[in-house]
């Protein structure tokens, strides 16, 4: 069974540029999560979906970050006008019952 896949694996951009991250969860998992993991810190939840509905986006910086999951399968996380403080690894996870399964992440560097 394929795991959670993410692309791209790496991204480097200048402040003010936009970037999108893509996640393909494990087939059949209805719940999908996006986390931000700054260097040498634990993952911090940004947003999560059940099917196509947003369940919790309270930690998503809404002025520059957006996330969608239009058909309840794949998901896209977008950062408009990136800042240096957005430098981190962005992890996607999907859930089966009580366990979250993580993708390898996208490492973002904002110069």
């Amino acid at each position: 069974e394929a795991g959670v896949t993410q692309s791209p694996r790496y991204a480097v951009l200048q402040e003010g540029q936009a970037v999108s991250f893509w996640c393909d969860p494990i087939s059949g998992h209805d719940t999908l999560y996006w986390y931000q993991q700054p260097r040498d810190q634990g993952p911090q939840l940004l947003v999560y979906f059940r099917d196509e509905a947003v369940i919790d986006n309270s930690q998503l910086p809404s002025d520059r970050f957006s996330a969608v999951r239009p058909k309840g399968t794949n998901s896209t996380l977008k950062i408009q006008s990136a800042k240096q403080g957005d430098t981190a690894t962005y992890l996607c996870a999907s859930r089966d019952r009580d366990t979250q399964y993580f993708g390898p992440g996208t490492r973002l560097l904002v110069l």
């Binding site: 795991g3 959670v4 719940t31 040498d40 810190q41 634990g42 993952p43 911090q44 939840l45 999560y48 919790d56 992890l91 996870a93 859930r95 019952r97 009580d98 366990t99 979250q100 399964y101 993580f102 993708g103 390898p104 992440g105």
Partner: protein, 115 residues
Amino acid sequence: AQSVTQPDARVTVSEGASLQLRCKYSYFGTPYLFWYVQYPRQGLQLLLKYYPGDPVVQGVNGFEAEFSKSNSSFHLRKASVHWSDWAVYFCAVSVNNNAGAKLTFGGGTRLTVRP
């Protein structure tokens, strides 16, 4: 609000030695607790999980953890460390009485294994 503290940011042990990684949680409800491991350039992988019941839980690769309500702790242990255990370990608590639905992670402990 719930929180998880991993007091030791870095731990170094010799291969073959025993290991304990500490985790303290703060949560007023029934905690569901998890340990994940992150190898370089990879996502997090589940080592073990605790549900209310037996306080000692067994995980993969010889890891186990013990839950203590009185100490608000969920420490991870291994009897004999292997070089392949070199990784970052995260403790997490699940809230809202829905196991695994929403995780709060600690800051992680980076384990180095000396030959």
